[in-house]
């Protein structure tokens, strides 16, 4: 399975939200989507999920155009855990995960034994099987997030989209969920595209990072290529220190202080040159 976004453009009213976004994702790749608020991350996820139609360009799953596939067909290839899921109603955890099987069921058919086997399998993997009989309203935030991920996995997708899966979770749940996602990418070759606010977390888990600003891809590549002090200053307006941690084998990003606008514009050109030379040095 390959996911390809080709020159996607999107407008909200007259405002351009996404501008010629192109990238590809292959089997077994964890892609982190980072950028400041309003840079178009969530919009991009929604377009990949066909919730929004791009004004120009298209998304391809293998060679099929997303806009020409029907909803159920997409749901079998691509699952999504949105930033917020409404859970006002008293569903049991098991029923929520079982909804992941809907794309495989006919209008009047009920779930069969095979569906339950699959749901149990994913619940065991996400460590949620013991919650099966509980109400979705009475479990903790971390458990709920795992349940929603189990629901998405029960769709048996090739591509999983996540919008800040670890927001509002304590660090233990954060790494638990991220480790689980990483394992899925390694073991079953899932493609994950994940919006992450925490840059250190993004650096640690992403195979590749896409850095967005004002609806444009500023930089795309390995974490150490994208997460440079210059890029962070340019995109987030933040002075940051970046260090390499030997034990985890990944980068640590420490934000220091905001940079003022005018200083940035003067420096902009120099920053870009510097960034380019750094990449050259490494390669």
């Amino acid at each position: 399975m390959r996911l390809k976004a080709d020159k996607i453009e999107f407008y909200y009213n007259a405002r351009k939200i996404l501008d010629k976004i192109s990238f590809e994702a292959r089997e077994g790749e964890f892609i982190g989507l980072i950028g400041p608020n309003g840079s178009g991350k969530t919009t991009l996820l929604r377009i990949i999920n066909k919730i929004l139609e791009p004004k120009a360009g298209s998304v391809y799953l293998d060679c099929k155009k997303l806009s020409e596939m029907d909803w159920k067909e997409i749901a079998r290839e691509l699952a999504c855990v949105p930033q917020e899921t409404q859970l006002d109603f008293n569903f049991k955890v098991f029923d929520i995960v079982m909804m992941g099987r809907y794309p495989y069921l006919g209008r009047f058919s009920l779930e069969g034994e095979e569906d339950e086997e699959k749901v149990r399998y994913w619940m065991r993997l996400t460590n949620t099987l013991h919650l099966a009989d509980r109400s979705i309203k009475e479990i903790s935030g971390g458990e709920r997030q795992r349940v929603l991920i189990a629901r998405a996995l029960a769709q048996e997708p090739k591509i999983l989209l996540l919008d800040e899966p670890t927001a509002n979770l304590d660090i233990c749940y954060q790494i638990e969920i991220m480790n689980m996602l990483k394992r899925l990418v390694r073991e079953i070759g899932l493609i994950i595209i994940c919006v992450i606010h925490d840059l250190t977390l993004a650096a640690r888990y992403s195979d590749r990072i896409i850095l967005l600003k004002n609806g444009r891809i500023v930089e795309m590549g390995r974490p150490w290529e994208v997460l440079t002090e210059e890029n962070i200053r340019k995109v987030f307006n933040v002075e940051a220190r970046i260090e390499y941690d030997r034990r985890s084998g990944s980068l640590i990003i420490v934000p220091i202080k905001p940079v003022s606008e005018e200083a940035l514009s003067v420096r902009d050109e120099r920053v870009r040159m510097l960034a380019r030379s750094r990449v050259r040095e490494r390669s």
Binding site: R46, N49, R76, Y102, L110, E116
Partner: protein, 353 residues
């Protein structure tokens, strides 16, 4: 047989009763209990009236009618078969239809305060039905009034949508306010129309309050097949409605064609309301109360919520009508409103908390 008592974890796991079968069994039991409740309700409600006829005699009469011969009183048989039973069966069907319309609207708007009466669909349907009986010759026979009621209801819900869109943001507050405004508008127009054209204030009362006075077997025969068909169609959308409860975005990523069902389900709800209103006027609050009570009892899954709400709606309206009959034939809509308004306030309070 070879093999020990203890097995590996997988074997133990495999031997566990499947959750899907437990669930199916539970659903079956719920429906069986409700069916029993409905049968008991029908028999007891038939017994109640100006002349008390004991339930045992009712069973004899039904048996007699079905061909099992037994001696029955001719007079009682007439009361039961021509007056009480058609009214009770009609009440059951109308209660079921309104309750179903409520389930669909609450699922669609993801809010337990939605109801065909509160959102003005019933008023629109009343206006349509009243206009058709006063103005139109029965163009397509007995289906003229239900069709006119359906179109009225559809107009109302379209207007409510329009008003909500006009205000910009889709919140439950704006939805309810728009519904109330449209309901008033249609009630006012209805009163004017009836006042100008027939000068019969009793008719206004029938359409606005709702009552089961004109019940006969013909009406039962018209509603029954329509209701069964609409119930089956609603059941076909039950998984979509479940998914929709998790939000539009999640529903869409589960393969639900959200824009399609957001067009189709209001039509379905208007049809159900239209059928009910055409024969009994605007009876309120059943669509609000029944789905909510059943959701507390059977859970939010629409595959069980839809049939059980329909049955509960039938049972409730039979009892409400029995009460109305005992209280000097007041409109049954008054009884349901007397139960419904406190319930509505309770729901609002719970939401605010």
């Amino acid at each position: 047989m070879v093999g020990g008592l203890r097995g590996s974890a997988e074997e133990v796991e495999a031997r566990r009763p499947r959750i899907i079968y437990e669930r199916l069994l539970r659903w079956r039991m719920i429906l069986i209990y409700l069916m029993i409740g409905l049968c008991a309700t029908i028999i007891i409600a038939t017994a109640i009236g100006p002349v008390y006829i004991p339930p045992s005699e009712i069973l004899y009469i039904i048996a007699h009618k079905l061909g099992v011969s037994s001696a029955v009183s001719e007079g009682h048989m007439k009361i039961i078969l021509q007056i009480r039973l058609p009214r009770i069966i009609l009440g059951c069907l109308i209660g079921a239809a309104l309750s179903l319309a409520g389930v669909i609207m609450q699922g669609l708007f993801r809010n337990p305060l939605a109801d065909p009466y509160i959102l003005g669909v019933s008023s629109g349907a009343s206006l349509g039905a009243a206009l058709s009986t006063i103005l139109l010759p029965p163009l397509i026979g007995i289906y003229t009034t239900p069709l006119a009621a359906f179109l009225g209801g559809l107009t109302a819900i379209t207007l409510v949508y329009g008003v909500v869109k006009l205000t910009g943001r889709f919140t439950i507050g704006s939805l309810l306010l728009a519904g109330i405004a449209i309901a008033y508008l249609f009630s006012a127009v209805l009163s004017i129309v009836i006042w100008l054209l027939s000068r019969d204030s009793h008719k206004i009362l029938v359409w606005i309050m709702g009552g089961l006075w004109g019940a006969d077997w013909l009406r039962v025969k018209i509603i029954l097949p329509i209701l069964l068909l609409l119930t089956v169609i609603s059941l076909g959308f039950s998984k979509d409605l479940n998914a929709l409860l998790l939000g539009e975005e999640t529903a869409q990523s589960l393969g639900v064609n959200v824009s399609l069902i957001e067009k189709l389900l209001p039509i379905l709800a208007s049809l159900l309301t239209g059928v009910a209103v055409a024969f009994a006027g605007a009876i309120g609050f059943i669509g609000l109360m029944m789905p909510h009570i059943m959701r507390m009892l059977v859970g939010p899954d629409h595959r069980i919520l839809i049939p059980s709400s329909a049955l509960a709606g039938g049972i409730f309206l039979i009892w409400a009508d029995a009460a109305a009959r005992c209280l000097m034939e007041i409109p049954v809509g008054v009884v349901t409103s007397l139960c419904g308004v406190p319930f509505f306030i309770y729901l609002m309070r719970r939401r605010i908390e």
